[in-house]
């Protein structure tokens, strides 16, 4: 399309244009944002609590009013009219402006918080000072750049979550899932850690739903000491952090697929599904992108495993005087666990792995070789010439800040809303591995009903070519699938259903689809 002249009107026309209600709503919301932006210039507005309240209420009102103006007068159903005509959702000028603004914000947030008004020894100024009253009310401490970020993050998930629920008011699955991420963000990521900080100042800040390797820092020395020093509460939290990785998460992933985390609980996922919903169609569906995805995300897994092991190793002792775990016990433990997983997969799950087995083996042997090297040649947690601490700061900079924040969220309007989840998140990769190898979850394809229209693939935020499976009558069992359910929602012919069923027959490629000659189906599909 696009070889003919469209109207030159700047306002655009339906479904591209905003209606009057939406325009007013944008004005209100932007006024709220404007108050925050003014604060960057350290304008003294006086009563911080009042102005912060006005700002947040205005943002909320703007977004909710916008949703009302967009959806309330329409029949319930799929609301994708004009998605590819609107500048913001089709990589137009607005999208680039938003992308640059977000990216800039993340760079300032991570590397130059002083411009937001962070003052190390003394009273905050500017934007951060505006949040001081709220922070003091919750934890008793003055605000930090992270408190400002966390508050805005929560506001975004709540307000855009409400918009999403309105948009999908015909779809119970989407509604419940969104209520869930809104709850986990507000309670677990925002309120509980603040309140815990008030009750017990020694406890490390801990978002309980955030498990390693997403919170790659969880087993660093200062945190471990913090847990240990806080007595039974701290030890319980440490214990919870460990069984989350080895018991809770594999169990839930077996039962429900990785969606239980990625699109029902996770904060990154929560933002992607709510504020990022308008950008899901921008993910790259090509086979090439899939290849890049597998290399990059699994490299991050290898990196985080090595980094964490090296960090823990570096502070453990050679005897049990400091921690009951010694260097030798720990490093052998890691090697044994990795070997057990590797052996189990190679023996029992070879078929599922198929061509990827080679890459899995490469990853495994890399880690083991490096661990051996570390133990016998450096003895202090150094990997080759890199200190554990250097690894940690590098990871924190490259993956924790640049990838998950600056690129992952800043580039929403350009690369889609799940770039981090797809290409960078080691947690998603590990859950995905479990989902692919042993899980009851799949997206079932409904017999021969697919018409290859491509709505499912277009709106898959993880860049899965869903149609490629559906038109073969094959169920979708992909490690990257976060189970958002949008493919099923946008399907005009009722072809896709997310469900948890028996593991047997989960994948079932067919060359000839249901509805044709049964003998022909037997002949072709049995090959």
């Amino acid at each position: 399309m696009g070889n003919f002249d469209r109207s030159m009107s700047l306002a655009g026309e339906p479904p591209k244009a905003l209606n009057t209600g939406q325009k007013l709503a944008v004005l209100v919301g932007m006024t709220g944002m404007g108050i925050l932006i003014l604060q960057l210039f350290n304008l003294k507005l006086g009563n911080s609590a009042l102005w912060l309240t006005i700002s947040i209420v205005a943002i909320f009102t703007g977004i909710i009013w916008f949703s009302q103006a967009a959806y309330a007068h329409k029949q319930k159903g799929i609301k994708n009219d004009g998605v590819w005509f609107k500048s913001i959702s089709s990589r137009g000028v607005l999208a680039w402006m938003a992308g640059i603004a977000l990216t800039g914000f993340y760079i300032v947030l991570y590397f130059y918080p002083q411009y937001l008004g962070l003052v190390k020894d003394g009273d905050n100024t500017g934007l951060i000072a505006l949040f001081d009253p709220l922070s003091k009310g919750l934890s008793g401490n003055p605000a930090s750049q992270w408190f400002v970020y966390g508050t805005m993050y929560t506001v975004a998930i709540l307000a855009f979550g409400a918009k999403f629920i309105w948009k999908y008011r015909h779809n119970k699955y989407e509604q419940l899932r969104t209520v869930s991420v809104m709850f986990f963000q507000t309670a677990f990521a925002f309120f509980i850690p603040e309140i815990m900080a008030r009750l017990n100042g020694d406890l490390p800040y801990y978002d309980l739903k955030n498990m390693w390797p997403l919170n790659y820092y969880n087993f660093e020395r200062y945190r471990i000491n913090g847990f240990i020093d806080s007595g039974s509460v701290g030890m319980t939290m440490l214990f919870f952090g460990i069984i989350s990785i080895f018991v809770i998460s594999p169990f839930l992933t077996y039962k429900y697929g990785k969606r239980w985390y990625c699109s029902w609980v996770c904060g990154c996922g929560g933002l992607a599904e709510t504020a990022g919903d308008s950008f899901r169609q921008l993910s790259d569906k090509s086979k090439f992108a899939w290849k890049v995805e597998r290399w990059v995300v699994h490299s991050v897994v290898v990196f985080v495993t090595l980094m964490t092991t090296a960090v823990i190793y570096s502070y453990l002792g050679n005897d049990t005087s400091k921690y009951w775990l010694t260097k030798t016990m720990f490093i052998s433990g890691v090697a044994v666990i990795l070997t057990a997983i590797f052996a189990w997969v190679m023996i029992y799950k070879r078929e599922e792995l198929a061509k990827d087995a080679r890459y899995g083996a490469i990853g495994y042997f890399t880690i083991i070789a490096v661990l051996i090297g570390m133990h016998f040649f450096s003895g202090s947690g150094n990997i080759f010439i890199f200190k554990a601490e250097t690894l940690r700061t590098t990871y924190s900079f490259l993956i924790g800040s640049i990838f998950s924040g600056v690129i992952g969220t800043g580039f929403y309007p350009i690369l889609g809303n799940r770039v981090w989840c797809r290409f960078g998140c080691p947690m998603a990769a590990m859950l995905g591995f479990q989902q692919r190898m042993f899980s009851k979850f799949r997206i079932t394809t409904n017999g021969g009903q697919c018409i290859s229209c491509g709505n499912c693939s277009t709106y898959c935020e993880m860049g899965i070519d869903v149609r490629a499976y559906a038109q073969k009558g094959e169920n979708i069992v992909r490690s990257s699938c976060v189970g958002c359910g949008i493919c099923s929602a946008v399907c005009p012919r009722g072809v896709l259903k997310l469900e948890n069923g028996p593991e047997k027959g989960r994948i079932n490629s067919k060359d000839v689809l249901l509805g044709n000659d049964v003998d022909l189906m037997d002949l072709v599909n049995s090959k």
Partner: protein, 448 residues
């Protein structure tokens, strides 16, 4: 090495090509004048509505064809010379074939209405039609009103498309109720209501008399058989489709409304076959029509013919009928045969349930004497294809269907389920005492 030439790169031709490639090393060429690459015709509406870009409607990436050694030729076949086994293209080049498959699909029907060839009058079938609509109706300033003529699946899609740009739409439907030649009365009535909910001016029992031209040869109004003149800028002709076979007139290939084929999809000329919308069976298979202009049947013919072309001669022998569509926001699926009041036989009885407020309903057809299950239409509830296919094969009765209906539900998780309500109404209507069984994975998967 055989050279297989396929005219038409729609679902029929492309399915055929893919399957021939799986089975053999033959040289395959696909000729199309419509588009460079295969795209999903059923998705064209979403391009106009801005849900997708045109490239999203292409199911395979562009490298796919070369990798699978399927040659794509862009060109329009003017003439088929069956004696010399050659095709003459519009650019005067020739392509020789060993086996020729015609899969040229359909074109919109025109029934000789005065003014049917004016500017601004168009059907909606091809990529070119979509591009034309984008020119004719880019917005509601250029197009103040559109009139759609013909109450079928394409008509309602076109209405939905135009409404997405807030263009006022008048929808002329010949029948007394929307699509009631196919749908039973209750369902048809529900869709009438839904069309009105979308602010479409639905005029039932109304025919097009003529289209009036302005001074530049553009449509400016239509006149209906009720004597009403409706001003408009665009007229959508969506009164069904007919096989696209004009170029075969003097080819010696036997033609009826479509290209006449036997059960092996062979024409009267050796090494020439026809599949998809343009093929016409000498007699309809089962309750099917001789010409089946449906996505799924096009695909199935491609799957079947590939076997024949590759040396395992095989009839086109479709299984149980199924189909689907979406009427604005209401999804429709059908399995087996449910006929409208107009065309159903005496033995076919219906059980109908409709939700009190939502646009959800089902109709189950069964034999009035044996109670054998014949088919189901569902609106706003998704059902499992495999299960209904199995029930039809096993000649289950309607009581069985009602008892195990919960297991056939395919709606997304957490959706409100209506099986209890449905079965209660069935019990009341037919004085039965069926209690529905819970969904069982075992039953669902012993079937697949």
């Amino acid at each position: 090495m055989d050279h297989i030439v396929i005219i038409g790169n729609g679902i029929s031709g492309v399915t055929l090509a893919r399957h021939i490639r799986k089975l053999s090393d033959k040289k395959i060429t696909i000729i199309s004048a419509e588009s460079d690459y295969f795209f999903s015709r059923t998705a064209l509406m979403y391009v106009y509505m801005g849900h997708m870009k045109f490239e999203h409607t292409q199911p395979y990436e562009n490298w796919f064809w070369k990798k699978n050694r399927i040659d794509l030729v862009k060109g329009f076949v003017e003439k088929v010379e069956t004696d010399s086994k050659k095709l003459l293209l519009k650019d005067s080049s020739y392509i020789s074939y060993d086996k020729l498959i015609i899969a040229t699909g359909s074109k919109p029907n025109k029934f000789g209405w005065p003014g049917q060839d004016l500017k601004g009058v168009q059907g909606l079938y091809s990529k070119q039609d979509l591009e034309m609509l984008e020119k004719n109706a880019p917005n509601n300033k250029v197009c103040n009103r559109a009139v759609i003529v013909g109450g079928g699946l394409i008509g309602i899609e076109m209405a939905e498309m135009l409404r997405s740009r807030e263009i006022p739409v008048t929808f002329l439907v010949r029948e007394k109720s929307f699509w009631n030649g196919v749908l039973p009365a209750g369902e048809s009535a529900m869709i009438n209501e839904h069309i009105l909910e979308h602010h479409i001016d639905l005029q039932l029992d109304t025919n097009l008399e003529k289209i009036i031209s302005d001074d530049n040869g553009r449509a400016k109004a239509v006149v209906t058989d009720k004597g009403e003149t409706i001003e408009c800028n665009v007229v959508g002709l969506t009164a069904g489709v007919a096989p696209n076979i004009d170029f075969l007139k003097d080819s010696g290939i036997e033609l009826g409304r479509g290209i006449k084929v036997n059960r092996f999809l062979e024409t009267n000329v050796k090494d020439v076959y026809a599949i998809g919308d343009c093929a016409e069976q000498h007699e309809g298979i089962g309750s099917r029509r001789p010409i089946e202009a449906v996505w799924y049947t096009g695909r199935m013919m491609g799957e079947a013919l590939a076997q024949t072309i590759c040396g395992q001669k095989r009839e086109y022998n479709p299984g149980h009928w199924f189909n689907s569509a979406k009427f604005l926001d209401v999804e429709y699926q059908t399995y087996g045969w449910v006929f409208s009041e107009r065309s159903k036989k005496d033995n076919e009885h219906h059980f109908h349930w409709r939700h009190a407020t939502e646009k959800i309903c089902i109709t189950v057809a069964f034999d009035k004497d044996s109670y054998q299950f014949l088919g189901i239409n569902t609106f706003g509830i998704r059902m499992r294809h495999e299960i209904f296919d199995q029930w039809l094969t096993e000649n289950k009765d309607i009581d069985h269907v009602m008892t195990y209906l919960k297991g056939a539900n395919f709606d997304p998780e957490f959706y409100k389920l209506y099986e209890d309500e449905i079965v209660a109404k069935y019990n009341a209507d037919f004085n039965k005492n069926i209690s529905p069984k819970k969904k069982s994975w075992k039953r669902i998967f012993s079937i697949a």
